[in-house]
Symmetry: D2
Subunit: 345 residues, 4 copies
Amino acid sequence: MTRVGVIGATGYAGAELVRLLCGHPGIELTILTSRQYAGVAYDAIYPAMKNVTRLVCEEMLVDRICDKADVVFTALPHKLPMTIVPDLLHRGKRVIDLSADFRFKDAVVYESFYDSHKAKDLLERSVYGLCEIYFERIRNADLIGVPGCYPTSVLLPLIPVLKSKFIDEDTLVADSKSGVSGAGRSLSLATHFCEANESFKPYKIATHRHNPEMEMVLTRETGAPVTLTFVPHLVPMNRGILTTIYAGLRQKVTVDNVVDCFLSFYSECPFIRLFNENKSPDTLYVRGTNYCDLGFKIDERNNRLILISAIDNLVKGAAGQAVQNMNIMLGLDETTGLLGVPFPV
Amino acid sequence: MTRVGVIGATGYAGAELVRLLCGHPGIELTILTSRQYAGVAYDAIYPAMKNVTRLVCEEMLVDRICDKADVVFTALPHKLPMTIVPDLLHRGKRVIDLSADFRFKDAVVYESFYDSHKAKDLLERSVYGLCEIYFERIRNADLIGVPGCYPTSVLLPLIPVLKSKFIDEDTLVADSKSGVSGAGRSLSLATHFCEANESFKPYKIATHRHNPEMEMVLTRETGAPVTLTFVPHLVPMNRGILTTIYAGLRQKVTVDNVVDCFLSFYSECPFIRLFNENKSPDTLYVRGTNYCDLGFKIDERNNRLILISAIDNLVKGAAGQAVQNMNIMLGLDETTGLLGVPFPV
Amino acid sequence: MTRVGVIGATGYAGAELVRLLCGHPGIELTILTSRQYAGVAYDAIYPAMKNVTRLVCEEMLVDRICDKADVVFTALPHKLPMTIVPDLLHRGKRVIDLSADFRFKDAVVYESFYDSHKAKDLLERSVYGLCEIYFERIRNADLIGVPGCYPTSVLLPLIPVLKSKFIDEDTLVADSKSGVSGAGRSLSLATHFCEANESFKPYKIATHRHNPEMEMVLTRETGAPVTLTFVPHLVPMNRGILTTIYAGLRQKVTVDNVVDCFLSFYSECPFIRLFNENKSPDTLYVRGTNYCDLGFKIDERNNRLILISAIDNLVKGAAGQAVQNMNIMLGLDETTGLLGVPFPV
Amino acid sequence: MTRVGVIGATGYAGAELVRLLCGHPGIELTILTSRQYAGVAYDAIYPAMKNVTRLVCEEMLVDRICDKADVVFTALPHKLPMTIVPDLLHRGKRVIDLSADFRFKDAVVYESFYDSHKAKDLLERSVYGLCEIYFERIRNADLIGVPGCYPTSVLLPLIPVLKSKFIDEDTLVADSKSGVSGAGRSLSLATHFCEANESFKPYKIATHRHNPEMEMVLTRETGAPVTLTFVPHLVPMNRGILTTIYAGLRQKVTVDNVVDCFLSFYSECPFIRLFNENKSPDTLYVRGTNYCDLGFKIDERNNRLILISAIDNLVKGAAGQAVQNMNIMLGLDETTGLLGVPFPV
């Protein structure tokens, strides 16, 4: 059975990986590391995990990790993965990185939004892990850059209609709303309960680091430069991203056109659920799941197509998509361990 | 002292009117009516009001209302005000209506989104109560149609920049997010705690009844037909609307241009607070207040102007703006009774 | 494979049953009924279930149910199960009822808190489905009365210490706090988002119908009459009950005494997790799980033992415990389908 | 007009003081200090205060404070006030301290739960600022120790019935539930949005520092040693404390007995609101107000009296009570500036 490790297991993305991997029937979770909690039992950090795992957090030591694991997830703040991933690959491990470090092909773009890159030679080798789009490349990859949560919620609804030439790529606006877990487990005034509760606000307006990531993929997929205006907002709830996309129509389209576009594009994709025109996706429906729910509305008066997507930012937006990548790399069914039934409320 | 009555005092807008009027130093609140709770003490319906008011809800009887009040607020579902407002006006009362019944000049528009109109002859006489824009007309009015909550949040940021010709009126998108009190006190599955909590979703996508109201005002103000795409969303919090508006720029503008535009346009307006480019409005900052906070960002890459507004939907979006109208009509300072200090959290 | 039906599948307890049964590897879910939604696809009522189940809600017809299912869960308001359960039993079905109808041995007690009983002859046959206490009886039962959510949270911490004679049964106080889903999916002002949010309050103080249920079991287990003061409160969250119990100590006890008492009593019980004296249970840790977390503190100054329990009211407090009963009745491992890994947040 | 300063104006209690003092018609707020934000405009820290105050936070310099203010509120972590209060008193200022530093008469008790005391000579001079009980002493005081939030919620319901000899003082249990703002604005994992949301838990079970404070006052008021078991819990909401008290009855009492006891004891107290036996207090009803709502239930079966109190922890539990103390000291009506009308939701 494939042995799996999680580097950075105590942040929310790492903890969600642990949740999914503990329930995954096709692998064995063998090692967890944490810079902050090395030596501490995992269930002392997350008491919900009492009786579920007996693993104890360890230091991030490459030898030890390589002894214990065949596949390694890195769930660290950007800049850290690039310091350890080369070693892991060198030892023949497959690596699935949840940070931004291996998402970009072009180090210049990365460096202008993040930091200087220390492992540029790996960027070409790395595969952008948006499973519904890059399934084939993922199958043969040994290094995955898992997409950001916002890009996942923007790219999945947008790519099919952009490729269908329905919409004018100069008109794109993506207005995203995320639950607070997207900001991570680090303490800040913005995520203090009393400041986030009963509050709704945008942040990093048109300057978020996920913006170039989206544009890189859209440009690659359409073959022409695509830019978009992206504004994220913070919602007083734990989990979920809902993105509303506004796009000018090039031509008159019907509901059937749009439905056909999505159904044919995603015909093989078990985690895409298309809602009909009269029912909108809701973050509540995807909580804890790897689904990306899609909805749409044709605004005939203004000649626009409105797209809606909903994901759980910690699952399809992070840990779930990471596990989906692992499944594909290992030749497992891509849904393995990812079909937990959603809560009604 | 002016005697004031509230028709429909037990819905959320009505209750917020009662809150503001009980604390208003320039008037006396003399009568409350409620179809559902006639005969019940107001503080039995809202126990928070124990020791604050001893008023008892009454039936909606025109004679009784006219005996008790000089100014009448109607906070009823649309279609009901038009059945009683003509009588009230006929008896010389001034009426401030919070429904949609007297917002439109053109009965056809009203009828296509609401119902058949029974008091069309009053539409010309009625003034649209957006105080920052129609102050002079309000002063001399005896019938006010208080703007909807969403239109208030869209019109206040948009009118100045549209009138400044900065933006292209064919590119307008307004993405609004509202707390649950906007849906009123009536029971529905959508407002059941367990279904609204930990949920974020759009509704009435590009088909909301506030859409024509916005377009009517924008068209009137700019002198040319304006349409916009409007999508409202439901946020798991009690109060607040935050609207994000996306508009294509006609020309290059600077931060100073936009700041000047707003500051000069709203120089006399005590409830408009302009945030600088690096700090966004937040519904938390306006909770319980009559402020409309404005923010903006120039998205140079995409040649768009992004506008942000935040209001409390029950105050500036309903009861507070209604009281502001009353103040103006009565010749009081427009801030009277509306300067309660906001909560820090 | 055992075929299973859920009668009353669209309330929250029913929906949680559907969630757990859809993920249960040892049975097949074959029929759902709903008085309100007969004829409607289940995923139209709970869109989260899209792609998860294709079942359509049906009328509650005994013949049809008996054709389709070997085990039947009844998740109906009390008074309704007693009208259908006799028929189901007569046809040889095993029935697990989530209402109060089959919890009491003494119809007089039931009738004084609920309604007149129409199936009194079944009360002796029915087994009270508190699995950790009545495992053996459940194994051989064909009719289970699943305990109420509050009683589960009170009985599991209290029975071991009462049987150990540590505490004085005349001193018992149970102060419980429940998430809003405990009030069900029916609409009411108390569960309207705006009224429940930012609110905390008790209800049915010392008069809740779960009070006699607790006392019946405690009396049976200790062999002498036990009464207790029980006060439930409503917490602004979806799921979870936390109960704090105060009990006078008969004698001096040590931390080890209490730990030993629980560990020995629950040594075979996979869903009981004992927290040490310095860490308290939290509803967050049990959300979505069938665990009952227990904690305690000895208040030496006041000679009291304080017990804490936390459960998910919809799982261990309803649907999860119901499935645990089914597992036991069917000879499956009692944890089958109930070990979904908890969310970190 | 009396000039007032707030030392420690940026924590939640300090910010709530600023809110109340900005709206107070009888004083002038002249100086704010903050260790963390000295030099920063107050409305940059709390943007809600834009246009409300132009004050800028200053360093905590005694000379400057004494120049600017006649009355000084100290809203600092315990241990800090005792370093500055002696100087302020020496200069003839009246001081209202919101920490624990001046609540105790006996330094030994303080030191066993907090720290070594540096200003023991002031303890006798200081008055415990529970206004409904110590009104006369407060009138003549120049140093007030404002009660803790939990003690306020426990003492106000308990003192009248204890003094009436209804209840047995050996049986007292107080189960309190507080909103998250009670934990202050300092960052911690316990107050991180994702960890506090959808969570309910007790903390510092029977070991909270407010326990001896309650017992000190109860003992003083009854003339005999009183102890009680006190357990605080954290509720996922911003504001409010609801306390449920369980007390054994010495004798049979009627509803009228209890009502009479409260009404006569609090006949002169404008902030006490007594609810009848069939309606419970709710934190929602007191949000933002200085009210302490009281309710009760006689549990005849178990011969206990159950008392309920609800306050806003930041108002009657901190800043509001502090202002009420100031009003009394200054000979103003005690309600001045404290009668803001509560929100309906």
